[in-house]
Amino acid sequence: MPMFKPLARPLPFFALWMLITLMLGLSLQARAAEDETLAQAGALLVQKFDQRADAVALLVERDHPRTQEILRLLQDGELYYRKDDDRLFVIKSAETGAEALDLLDGSAVTIEKKRDFKKVTLNNQMRNQISQALAEIGLKAEDPKRRAAAVRELLGALNEDTVSVLRNRIGNEPVAEVRELMVLALAIQDLEKGDEATRLQAIEQLDGSLEPPVRNALTALLGSDAADQVKRQAQLALNGIDEKIRYYGMLETLYFGLSLGSVLVLAGIGLAITFGVMGVINMAHGELIMLGAYTTYVIQQLMPNHIGASILVAIPAAFMVSALVGIAIERGVIRFLYGRPLETLLATFGISLVLQQAVRSIFSPLNRSVATPDWMSGLVEINPVFSLTLSRLYIILFCLLVFVALVVVLKRTPLGLQVRAVSQNRAMARAMGVRSKWVDALTFGLGSGVAGVAGVALSQLTNVGPNLGQSYIIDSFMVVVFGGVGNLWGTLVAGLSLGVANKVLEPWAGAVLAKILVLVFIILFIQKRPRGLFPQRGRAAEG
């Protein structure tokens, strides 16, 4: 039996219809009330400061849906009125020829004369009123993140009205994090206004918080005429906070260093295969990275509406492009030069020049801009003094991913087994039936392809231009040589530690000097351990 038979039962159907009409009517009525409020407020806003303040109060009191928007416009000084008819307009830049949007119906008007419009200005009292109103609206927001942001704005900026608002809300706040922020806000207030006991209690509450206003309030307290006991406690709390800030500062340096190191590892790891495993000095390695970056650019041009996905498409595409070019280089040039590393160096350097010029001729010598997808930009805020930029985080993860993939390929696949066999003892491997030439081409292709993948990552960090490769080639060689030729783990450790060393040195030596110091360090290190951090052992190393 059907559950619902509207025609057989006219009464509920009619009731439903009535209900809809009623609701429609109510909502129409509500719209009308809102429009009226807006009109009233608008009329007040074009008058003197006192009336403007009334307008703000009116909007807040009636809880108009556009209150927040209008208050922000007022705060930013973007609300104007036309002198002829007192209509309100939103104007981003008050220039002749710019656009003015009608506040009520959103229609656009072109400004013919600047003098026709006048800004709705605020006085200090109104600024306070507006920021307080905005804070209160924020505290009522559904989204806990927006509530937290609202409380954060109140830190160190409380007055009697907002204190009472906070005290009322604190009991009802369901989210612990927001509640803690509220406690902080009130504690800062107590620190400023309270007696000795409240101050001591407040310091206890503030202890260990990293919010900047907390630190400011404690510093201010030290300079005030508070009791010695209070000052001592405040000093202790302040020391604790500074200690924490230093700690997070170190973490941040480490993070920057790791991300720089990941870039170095990505740039160098392809070389670790071609140079390390095969013994081929490929000076065109940088250009293979560049090709990867340009592939990213081309893919983005092909799918301009899917920037987010384009990066994911670019990774395999760049791998293929660079790998094919690499295989072509190996088949065309390098295979004639095995066993003559210095000649290989010259020939591949020639290839790098040709590739650079090719890119210059095809894409123009100017830098191309590669867009960063939305999901890669942004921050992960750990606490107020320490946040992780997402793009760096992705680079680190990507680097580790590529590294693991390479290790798996070399250690767990038949190809990897053959690659290692050929690199350790070519004659023996051939005797065992390994097609060494084929393996050479594939190994070189693998190393080149990884360079292309590195190019995708680099396209997100630096300018994509014909000189992109050149600027990374020396760094890549340094990483591989420092880590020990023929050792992927060495490359990883070397790249990351050089990156961290660079960032640790940077604050007191400056970026350029830090780089020079690292280079000098590597030069000296090679003297001490000519085979790098993790030298290859056995006969193969004696080549």
Binding site: P341, L346, G350, I351, V354, I474, V512, I523, I526, Q527
Partner: protein, 362 residues
């Protein structure tokens, strides 16, 4: 007679020195005596260009000395060249005196611009030509000595050595780009007025510099030739071809390498010192690793371990570079890159190797 002995079997060297002699006599005459507009007139611009090529040829000879005979593929010789150039540039800077833009009698323009009050200590003495000339030899020599002593003692060789020489010149480039270093930062040293009291723009000075370059190349060539036909030269070749064996025979391989490397660096310094007054500027770009590699290519194209091959390679490629970058800038890098590949694949003994083979078969 010692020299005659060294040149007796060296057909290439004889030709080279003969050509240099002809140039030294003919070019000034054709420039000064033949009137402008005449078909045989050599304009001053060309004289300076040729002088510049000769200094680059000297640099190539220095590289051939260590790469051709010792097997050390240096990717950092431009560093020694640039250091010699900077030493000369500093002398020329001091010669400007109060004729700079700011008219400061004591400080070069860029120091005035950086609000420096006094000359840094390492600029002292550079107002004397003899001191600057000494530094042209000493600074590159000392750097090569220290660097080589470290590297050769610890038996860094082959590709590793190549890469750390590259790191060396790269580090120096970064360092010289810094304004705080006191060498003019990005812009380097320029706006030179005169050398030893002679106006740098005058035709006679330019011809003088050209002759000096030709002489330096000839002397440098002879020095290298004499060194390489001597016992030391044979030890060098032994080290190049079988380092361990030479060591087991009791030769101090490190000392041989260190000595020759240092001499080569000094030659490069001289080349740089003669290069700077002719081009009129020295900036950190001269340290760029690319330049060093280019020199190696000149040597490879000309023919390794012949010395005169290096000269031929340097002249041919630099002439081609001047021509192509002016006429067909798009083609130049394709041509240069292609040349590297072709020469290494098809002409392992370079252009002069081709000639020698013809000679042998004829």
């Amino acid at each position: 007679m010692f020299l005659m002995e060294a040149l007796k079997k060296d057909r290439g060297g004889q030709v080279l020195l003969g050509v240099l002699l002809v140039l030294v006599i003919a070019v000034p005459l054709l420039n000064l005596l033949v009137p402008e507009g005449h078909a045989l007139h050599v304009p001053t611009y060309t004289v300076t260009l040729m002088g510049k090529y000769l200094t680059l040829a000297l640099l190539a000879v220095a590289v051939d000395l260590v790469w051709g005979y010792l097997g050390i593929l240096t990717l950092g010789h431009a560093a020694f060249f640039a250091l010699g150039g900077y030493a000369m540039g500093m002398y020329l800077m001091r010669q400007i005196g109060d004729r700079g833009v700011y008219g400061n009698p004591l400080l070069p323009d860029f120091m005035v611009f950086l609000n420096w009050d006094e000359l840094p200590w390492f600029w002292l003495g550079f107002d004397q030509f003899w001191f600057a000339a000494l530094m042209v030899l000493l600074v590159p020599g000392l750097l090569a000595f220290v660097f080589g002593a470290l590297a050769f003692r610890s038996r860094v060789s082959g590709v590793y050595l190549s890469i750390i020489t590259q790191a060396l010149t790269y580090a120096l480039m970064l360092a010289f780009y810094r304004n705080e270093m006191g060498f003019g930062g990005n812009n380097g040293l320029t706006d030179f007025k005169d050398i030893l009291g002679f106006d740098l723009q005058a035709d006679a000075t330019r011809i003088g510099l050209f002759i000096a370059s030709a002489l330096a190349l000839a002397l440098g060539y002879l020095l290298c030739r004499v060194l390489m036909v001597s016992r030391l030269g044979r030890v060098c070749v032994a080290v190049r071809d079988a380092e361990s064996r030479a060591r087991f025979l009791g030769y101090r391989v490190e000392n041989v390498k260190l000595g020759v490397f240092t001499v080569s660096a000094m030659l490069a310094g001289v080349a740089g010192a003669l290069y700077v007054p002719q081009v009129g500027i020295i900036n950190p770009n001269e340290f760029s690793p690319l330049n060093s590699i280019e020199v190696v290519v000149w040597v490879a194209v000309g023919g390794r371990a012949t010395l005169y091959g290096a000269v031929v390679g340097a002249l041919v490629i630099n002439y081609a570079k001047s021509y192509f970058t002016a006429e067909l800038p798009e083609i130049w890098l394709f041509a240069l890159g292609g040349l590297f590949v072709l020469v290494t694949l098809l002409l392992p003994r370079g252009i002069t190797g081709l000639l020698r083979r013809k000679e042998a078969s004829a």
